[in-house]
């Protein structure tokens, strides 16, 4: 089945052959994979998807892969959890948590995009992959490049959390720490990508890479029994995930796979210290004003998001909104999710929980409507953010009487 028409400029519509390229030569608009949906209709069905593997590859026909999957065979199909305790706490009827903090193999949704990008890099015959990263992407590129026996060059801001540095280095990539913000790393990588013939997953492979995020949206709909929720709250860094979840819903509608006609309102979550997309939404303007990030949510610290314009448009088109979270609210959000659902997410997840809570309290998200909250990364990668916030544990000698005394002390403190 011939399902791909090459690439197409998202702005001016010019067509390009399938190649490792990402920018329209005429208007600089981003290039996007162009599918032949007519060829997919009736071929991709609920049954054909259900017959696929318990991974994101059950949606392979809707991803830009021509041949076999090269790496990341077990990525995705993460739990969608009915978060009853969190819903009780927030006074809501129906909250779901889409939990990519347990995505295989590197515990973030980035595994989805990287498996597509590296498979594609192999298809195009590259022997070296690279990326600019705020951490999660670095982990995933290093891991999946190792699996694919490819060389990897990973560029990160030098002040990245130690957990994310170790969780990259363990796979033996060439790790380059750049003294600068992520946006500066990204600009440098754009110039490096122009000079060296490498597969930069988020630069020249962006059209393929970003499509991997659609699987997160497909899974939400399938796991809800082929219905769409009334609201989805999505963390935004570069702004790609929210646009691709929205695209996933549109594609499933186009293919006739969704029950009912209910619209989904898409909501963007960002840190107050780096929230240019939410600022666009609040000011209702399609002009992005870049910022210099200052937030504990480093995985979301992109001051000049490439897909900011499209993220804004998705919230507008879907009737959604956006909300900022302060550093304090981010930590509270992480603790709230851990305390109610037993899920330890990274700071980005704290942003999403905090933003969702505020939107619910403001009445923007009605309490009786169904809500999906997107948790995209694992808390064990960023424990430093909680270091000062958690109570010291009880230390005792190995004797029963020592424990009895400690227990009595604890009880007297809480009574």
């Amino acid at each position: 089945m011939e399902k791909l028409n090459g690439l197409r400029c998202r702005e001016c519509g010019r067509h390009y052959p399938a190649a490792p390229t990402h920018v329209c030569e005429f208007c600089f608009g981003p290039l996007e994979v162009d599918y032949r949906y007519d060829a997919l209709k009736g071929v991709v069905t609920r049954d054909s998807i259900a017959a696929g593997p318990p991974s994101m590859w059950r949606y392979k026909e809707l991803l830009p892969i021509d041949g076999d999957v090269a790496v990341g065979h077990h990525v995705g199909f993460t739990p969608l959890i009915r978060a009853r305790n969190l819903a009780d706490e927030l006074g809501c009827r129906e909250i779901w948590v889409k939990n990519d903090s347990v995505c295989h193999p590197t515990w973030s949704f980035k595994d989805r995009v990287v498996s597509v990008a590296i498979t594609k890099a192999r298809e195009f015959g590259f022997d070296t992959v690279a990326c600019a990263s705020t951490g999660n992407l670095a982990n995933s590129v290093a891991a999946q490049a190792a699996e694919g026996r490819l060389k990897s060059y990973i560029f990160i801001p030098a002040d990245l959390e130690q957990g994310k540095v170790i969780a990259t280095l363990v796979y033996s990539p060439t790790l380059v720490a750049v003294h600068g913000t992520y946006d500066e790393v990204n600009r440098l990588c754009s110039e490096i990508a122009d000079k060296y013939r490498w597969a930069f997953v988020n630069v020249n492979f962006r059209p393929y890479y970003s499509e991997g995020s659609k699987s997160y949206g497909f899974e939400i709909v399938e796991q809800l029994g082929w219905r769409t929720p009334a609201h989805i709250v999505v963390p935004c860094a570069g702004g790609s995930l929210i646009t691709k979840i929205w695209k996933a819903i549109k594609e499933l509608k186009l293919l006739g796979l969704i029950d009912g006609q209910r619209g989904t309102r898409m909501h963007a979550a960002q840190a107050l210290g780096c929230g240019p997309i939410v600022t666009m939404i609040k000011n209702d303007t399609d002009v992005l004003v870049p910022v210099r990030p200052n937030t504990i949510a480093k995985s979301l610290a992109i001051g000049n998001p490439a897909d900011g314009y499209y993220a804004y448009k998705v919230t507008k088109e879907s009737g959604g909104s956006g909300e900022h979270a302060t550093d304090e609210e981010i930590v509270e959000g992480m603790l709230l999710l851990a305390r109610t659902e037993g899920i330890f997410t990274e700071t980005a997840g704290g942003v999403t929980i905090a933003a969702a809570k505020k939107l619910i309290e403001r009445g923007v998200i009605p309490r009786e409507e169904s809500i999906v909250i997107c948790i995209t990364g694992n808390g064990l990668k960023t424990p430093d953010s909680l270091q000062d916030r958690l109570d010291a544990h009880v230390k005792i000698k190995p004797s029963l009487s020592a424990f009895d005394r400690a227990l009595a002390d604890l009880k007297s403190q809480t009574s």
């Binding site: 030569e25 208007c27 600089f28 981003p30 988020n202 790609s240 870049p290 490439a306």
Partner: protein, 91 residues
């Protein structure tokens, strides 16, 4: 005022393949004028119909995004380096 301008791949068809060129201008705006004089058609790629910088292009003067400076009015001096960079994804 000679300034070094780095040209990204999508624009090199206009600069006969050159990745780096010398151009003159005391501001980014006048620099774009000189680029157009040297390489006709380049201006239309950088600016939209209203004369504003296209949405998906970022211009940096000595590694600094001109939106943090004075945008197109950002002053240039001898030896400055200007990079034209398409927007890029990431995270």
């Amino acid at each position: 005022m000679p300034v070094l301008v780095r040209i990204p791949t999508p624009l090199r068809t206009l600069t006969k393949g050159s990745a780096e060129i010398q151009a003159k201008g005391d501001t980014v705006d006048t620099l774009i004028g000189d680029l157009e004089r040297q390489f006709p058609g380049l201006k239309d790629r950088l600016l939209d119909e209203a004369g504003e910088l296209r949405r998906f292009i970022n211009i940096y003067v000595n590694q600094e995004d001109i939106r943090f400076l004075q945008a197109k009015k950002t002053a240039l001096k001898d030896g400055d380096e200007v990079s034209i960079v398409p927007a890029i994804a990431g995270g």
